[in-house]
C-alpha cells in the first residue's frame, strides 16, 4: 500500500510545479498586456497583485510543508502484515498534545490576522467612497440584462444633460489619468469586471456606486460581467479602449457625438445589391 503515498507525493509535486510554471506562461498568469507578463496596468492593480503574491507565497509554503509531512507519514507508517496476516505494528492511541494544538491554532491565526490587517489600506484605497479621486466623472455605467449602457457627460461635463453621449458596451478613457465612473443597475445584480485593471464591483439595483481605476498602457482591454445575471450573462462583454492622449480621447468622443447627432445620411448608399 506504499504506492498510495507515492501517488500523493506525485500529485503534490505536480501542483507545485504548476504554480512554479504559471508566472512564465501568459495563459496561466494574471491578465496583463501581451509582452509584459508581470506588469499590471493599473496603480491599484499593482497593490492587489502584491497582496495576491504574499498570500500565494504563504499558502504555497504551508502547502509544501503539509504535503511533505503527509507523504512522509503515509510512506513511513504504511500498514505491514506478518505471515499470519496480523499487523506488525499494532495501533496505539494517544490523547493529543496540548502544546501542539495551541501552536497550530495560534500560528495560522496570527497569519490570518496579519493578512486581514495588512490589506486594510489597499481595500480603503480601492473601495471607500470617501477615497474616490476628486475628478469629474468619466461616465455613468448602467448595467442591464444584458449590456452595459455607458453615458458620458459630453462637452458640458455634466451627466444627465441633453449633450450626453450614450454608448453600449464601449468604455474609453485616457492613459495615466484616474477614471471615475458611477455604477448602477437597472434590473438585477451584475458585476463590473475589468480584469486588466483588477477592478471588480457589483452593480446593485438602487445604488449608485463610485468605481475608479487607471491604466499606464494604452490599448484595448476587456470588460466583463462577473455575476451570473441570467441567460445572457456571457453576452455582457464590453470593449475597453485606453487612449494615449487626452486629445485622442476628445477626438473619439466628438466623432461619436457627431454620429449620435446625425440627422442626414452622408451619401446615397446601397445603389445595387446588398
Amino acid at each position: 500500500m506504499r504506492n498510495w503515498s507515492i501517488l500523493f507525493g506525485l500529485a503534490a509535486l505536480f501542483s507545485v510545479a504548476a504554480f512554479l510554471y504559471a508566472p512564465f506562461a501568459a495563459e496561466w498568469w494574471l491578465p496583463n498586456p501581451p509582452g509584459e507578463l508581470h506588469h499590471s496596468v493599473s496603480t491599484l492593480g499593482r497593490e492587489i497583485d502584491f497582496l495576491f503574491l504574499i498570500i500565494l507565497a504563504i499558502t504555497g509554503l504551508v502547502f509544501i510543508g503539509t504535503q511533505v509531512v503527509l507523504v512522509w507519514g503515509a510512506y513511513k507508517f504504511t500498514d505491514q502484515l506478518d505471515q499470519q496476516g496480523k499487523p506488525v505494528r499494532p495501533a496505539t492511541y494517544s490523547h493529543g498534545n496540548h502544546r501542539l494544538e495551541v501552536v497550530w491554532t495560534l500560528v495560522p491565526a496570527a497569519i490570518l490576522v496579519f493578512i486581514a490587517v495588512y490589506q486594510l489600506g489597499t481595500w480603503a484605497r480601492i473601495k471607500y467612497p470617501s477615497r474616490a479621486p476628486k475628478v469629474p466623472p468619466l461616465a455613468e455605467i448602467t448595467a442591464r440584462q444584458f449590456q452595459w449602457v455607458v453615458r458620458y457627460p459630453g462637452p458640458d461635463g455634466r451627466l444627465n444633460s441633453p449633450d450626453d453621449l450614450i454608448l453600449i458596451n464601449d468604455l474609453h478613457f485616457v492613459k495615466n489619468k484616474q477614471a471615475l465612473i458611477y455604477l448602477k443597475s437597472s434590473d438585477v445584480l451584475h458585476s463590473f469586471f475589468l480584469p486588466y485593471m483588477r477592478v471588480k464591483q457589483d452593480a446593485v439595483p438602487g445604488l449608485t456606486i463610485p468605481v475608479w481605476f487607471d491604466s499606464d498602457r494604452a490599448g484595448s482591454f476587456e470588460l466583463a460581467c462577473a455575476e451570473l445575471c441570467g441567460w445572457g450573462h456571457y453576452k455582457m462583454r464590453g470593449k475597453v479602449v485606453v487612449h494615449e492622449t487626452e486629445a485622442e480621447f476628445e477626438k473619439w468622443a466628438s466623432n461619436r457625438l457627431a454620429e449620435q447627432n446625425r440627422s442626414q445620411l452622408g451619401m446615397a448608399s446601397g445603389a445595387e445589391g446588398y
Binding site: Q145, F146, Q147, V149, N160, S161, P162, I166, I168, N169, D170, L223, W231, G232, K235, M236, R237, G238, K239, E259, Q260, N261, R262, S263, Q264, L265, A268, S269, G270, A271, E272, G273, Y274
Partner: protein, 432 residues
C-alpha cells in the same frame, strides 16, 4: 475494497468520456432541422393554410429544400437572391457559384503548420447565428428559440420579412445597414443585446446575410402556402417549378429594390431651440391643423399610457403577471371593454404591444435624430405607429424629433400644459 476501486474507475472514465465528447452535435436531441411554418400543417383561423393537403405540403417542402437547402447544415443560396458580397460563407462551408449547380466545399482554414485550424470549423453566418442568436430566434428564425418565451418583447420572427426599425419606406424591406445597426448596437430597451463587442464587423455582416437568408426562406414558404391554399390538392401542376420560381423571384426583388430606397431627409435637423420644441409639443398634442393623435397612444404626459391601449397596470398583469403560457386566460378574465381594447392592439406577429414612454430617453430603434425622424416619418412596420410623411413636412417632423428628445430632460414640458380634452375611457379602470 476492490469493488469500490472499480466503481471509482468507472466514474472517472465516465467523466473523461463526457468531457471528451464535449459539445458536438451528437448530444443534440435530434438532427438540426428547419421547423415548418404552422400554416403549412395547421388550420389557422383567418389565415391561408395547407391543413389537409398533404400533396401540396410535400411540394412546398421540396421546393424549399431545392431552393434553400435541406437543413441548416446544408445551406444553398438560391439563384437570383443577389448576395454579391458575403452570403456565400455558409455553415462551415463555402458556396462557389449560384443556384442548384453551385459547388459547396468545406471551409479549410489552415494553421501555419498546414493542418486544419479547429477554430475555423465554426465559420459562416449560420455558425455564428447558432452560437449567438439561435437560443432566442430559433433554428428557422421563427423567434421561437428556447429562451424566447421568457422575453418581452418577444424575439423577432424573421419569416414574415417584416422589420420594425428601418430606413426604407413604410412597409418596405429593410436596408441591409438597418439590420447591421440592430445587431451591432442592439435594440435598447429590449432583450436584443449589442454585438459590437462580441463579433467583428465581418462576422456581423455574415449574420446579416444569414438573417436575410432566413427571411427569404420564410417569406417564400409563406407565399407558397398562400398560393397552395387557392390551388387544388389533386392538380398535378399546382405549385409547379415555374410558379415556385416566380414566387421566389418576387421575394428577392422586394429585398433588392429596398436597398436603393433609403429615406434621407433633404433638410438637416432644425436647431433644437425652445421655439422648435414648443412647435413639436403642439403637434404632439394635436393642436395644429394636422390634428395628430400622438397622445391617444403615448398619453397626455407621453408616458406610454394613452387611452387607445389598456392601462399600464392591466398590461403588466396580463403580460408579466404569471406563466407566459396562461396569458390567454388572463386576457379572457378582463372585462369586455378592456378585452376588446386588448384584442385591437396586437402587433403583426400577434404579440402584445405597448406605446413607448417617451420620457425615458430609451428608443429601441436608436436615439439619433435621423432614427427618430424615420420612426415618425415612416412609422414602425408591424406595429401600430403610423407613417406621418407627407402628412407632416420635414420641418414639422424635425420639430417633433426635437420635442421628443427634449422630454427626457424637461419633465414639465407636458405637465405644465392643461391636458387636452381628449375622449377618455373613464370607466376602463383596472379589473381588480
Amino acid at each position: 475494497m476492490i469493488t469500490r476501486s472499480r466503481f471509482i474507475a468507472a466514474l472517472g472514465l465516465a467523466g473523461l468520456l463526457v468531457t471528451s465528447v464535449g459539445c458536438t452535435d451528437s448530444l443534440n436531441a435530434g438532427p438540426l432541422v428547419y421547423v415548418d411554418n404552422e400554416a403549412l400543417t395547421h388550420e389557422l383561423k383567418g389565415k391561408a393554410n395547407l391543413a389537409g393537403k398533404p400533396a401540396l405540403q410535400a411540394k412546398v417542402r421540396a421546393a424549399l429544400a431545392r431552393l434553400y437547402g435541406d437543413s441548416p447544415n446544408q445551406i444553398r443560396v438560391p439563384e437570383g437572391s443577389g448576395f454579391p458580397r458575403g452570403g456565400l460563407t455558409l455553415a462551415n462551408h463555402r458556396q462557389i457559384g449560384e443556384g442548384e449547380s453551385a459547388r459547396i466545399e468545406p471551409i479549410q482554414a489552415l494553421l501555419p503548420n498546414g493542418s486544419p485550424d479547429p477554430a475555423h470549423r465554426q465559420a459562416g453566418g449560420f455558425a455564428l447565428y447558432r452560437r449567438n442568436c439561435l437560443h432566442c430566434h430559433g433554428v428557422s428564425g421563427a423567434g421561437d428559440g428556447p429562451t424566447a418565451t421568457f422575453l418581452f418583447p418577444r424575439p423577432r420572427d424573421f419569416r414574415k420579412g417584416v422589420y420594425k426599425f428601418t430606413s426604407t419606406p413604410s412597409g418596405a424591406k429593410p436596408h441591409r445597414d438597418d439590420l447591421t445597426r440592430s445587431i451591432r448596437d442592439g435594440l435598447l430597451g429590449t432583450s436584443m443585446p449589442a454585438f459590437d463587442a462580441l463579433m467583428s464587423p465581418s462576422e456581423i455582416e455574415q449574420v446579416v446575410d444569414y438573417v436575410m437568408f432566413l427571411s427569404m426562406r420564410g417569406e417564400t414558404e409563406l407565399a407558397l402556402i398562400e398560393e397552395g391554399s387557392i390551388s387544388d390538392e389533386k392538380d398535378a401542376d399546382a405549385l409547379g417549378d415555374d410558379i415556385v420560381k416566380e414566387i421566389a423571384t418576387g421575394v428577392f426583388e422586394k429585398w433588392k429594390s429596398a436597398q436603393s430606397q433609403v429615406m434621407n431627409p433633404s433638410t438637416p435637423r432644425t436647431a433644437s431651440d425652445r421655439a422648435s420644441v414648443l412647435r413639436g409639443r403642439d403637434l404632439y398634442l394635436g393642436r395644429t391643423k394636422e390634428k395628430l393623435e400622438c397622445a391617444g397612444c403615448h398619453g397626455a404626459l407621453a408616458k406610454g399610457d394613452g387611452p387607445s391601449f389598456v392601462p399600464v397596470d392591466v398590461f403588466n398583469m396580463v403580460v408579466f403577471g404569471g406563466d407566459p403560457s396562461t396569458r390567454q386566460e388572463r386576457v379572457d378574465a378582463l372585462d369586455e371593454k378592456l378585452r376588446t381594447l386588448w384584442n385591437q392592439k396586437p402587433d403583426d406577429w400577434g404579440n402584445p404591444l405597448r406605446p413607448t414612454n417617451l420620457n425615458r430617453g430609451v428608443f429601441k430603434g436608436g436615439r439619433r435624430p435621423i432614427d427618430l425622424f424615420w420612426r415618425i416619418a415612416k412609422g414602425i412596420n408591424g406595429a401600430q405607429m403610423p407613417a406621418h410623411y407627407p402628412t407632416l413636412n420635414e420641418a414639422q417632423i424635425w420639430d417633433l424629433v426635437n420635442f421628443v428628445l427634449a422630454l427626457e430632460h424637461d419633465p414639465d414640458l407636458l405637465a405644465s400644459v392643461p391636458p387636452a380634452p381628449a375622449p377618455r375611457l373613464a370607466e376602463s379602470g383596472s379589473t381588480r
